[in-house]
């Protein structure tokens, strides 16, 4: 029988769950708009290159899309980490996962922001 006392494990469970819940709700809202514009506004179901560049000239849109990337990546990686935790990994393993996911997450968001600015700049005659 396992006699170890349950000492406090890493104390971030509450905050990560809270962020996952909030980002989930934000993703639902922004994604809904994102879907409508990308599939229902366009004439053939998908925006062409020119449509996309034009759409991104409205300053609200890059802000919204940066939000979407940030929230979606956060929600997805926090959720994935939770699924891994459900399998009771060793402390060492979850330590590696923490680093890996942080790097992937930051990388994906930075890449997304770069891409968004690249698209915006295409429309300003660069």
């Amino acid at each position: 029988m396992n006699n170890t006392l349950y000492g406090p494990k890493s104390n971030e469970g509450a905050w990560l769950w809270f962020i996952k819940a909030v980002t989930g709700l934000l993703v639902i809202v922004i994604l809904f708009i994102h879907l409508i514009v990308n599939h229902f506004v366009a004439t053939n179901g998908l925006l062409s290159y020119a449509d996309v560049v034009r759409y991104y000239q409205n300053p609200i849109i890059p802000i919204m899309e940066i939000g979407l990337v940030g929230f979606a990546v956060s929600h997805s990686l926090i959720g994935l980490r939770g699924i891994i935790l459900d399998l009771k990994p060793t402390r060492a393993f979850i330590g590696v996962i923490n680093w890996l996911f942080t790097i992937i997450g930051v990388g994906a968001v930075v890449y997304g922001i770069w891409l968004i600015f690249a698209i915006v700049s295409k429309g300003t005659g660069s």
Binding site: G24, L31, H39, N44, G45, L46, Y49, S76, L80, L115
Partner: protein, 130 residues
């Protein structure tokens, strides 16, 4: 509980997806988990593919014409279905977390999954007829 820990992570994970000997609530859990994994995969694929946008009009519009066929459209519908299921299920879980709708679990699950299916059908009809 040590018998559980003797099993490999893979066999333990596979137990999540077996709905036998569980109530209908388990369907909600299973669908949420499967759609979570599928959508995560799609998210990173989507980010990668959008790189085409940065390559300019020729690259992106070329890419668009490549995916404007029934097989890709079918997968897009699948992604939207997964998105709606995961999103609506998530709303159900968020409501439960605030103590709302716990008594009406099963009804809520069926209702929200029903909505997800209907929306997906509408999306599919739209995408296959434009």
């Amino acid at each position: 509980m040590s018998e559980v820990s003797n099993q490999s992570p893979v066999s333990r994970a596979l137990k999540w997806f077996d709905p036998r000997a569980h109530s209908i609530n388990m369907i909600g859990f299973i669908l949420n988990r499967i759609t979570a994994l599928g959508l995560t995969l799609y998210l990173f694929l989507h980010l990668f593919v959008l790189h085409q946008l940065a390559q300019g009009s020729a690259a992106y519009d070329g890419f668009l014409s490549m995916i404007h066929n029934p097989i890709f459209t079918f997968f897009e519908v699948l992604v939207v279905t997964a998105g709606f299921m995961h999103g609506l299920n998530g709303i159900r879980i968020a409501l439960n977390s605030f103590g709302v709708g716990i008594r009406s679990q099963k009804m809520l699950l069926i209702l929200l999954l029903g909505i997800a299916v209907l929306v997906s059908l509408a999306f599919a009809v739209h995408m296959f007829t434009v």
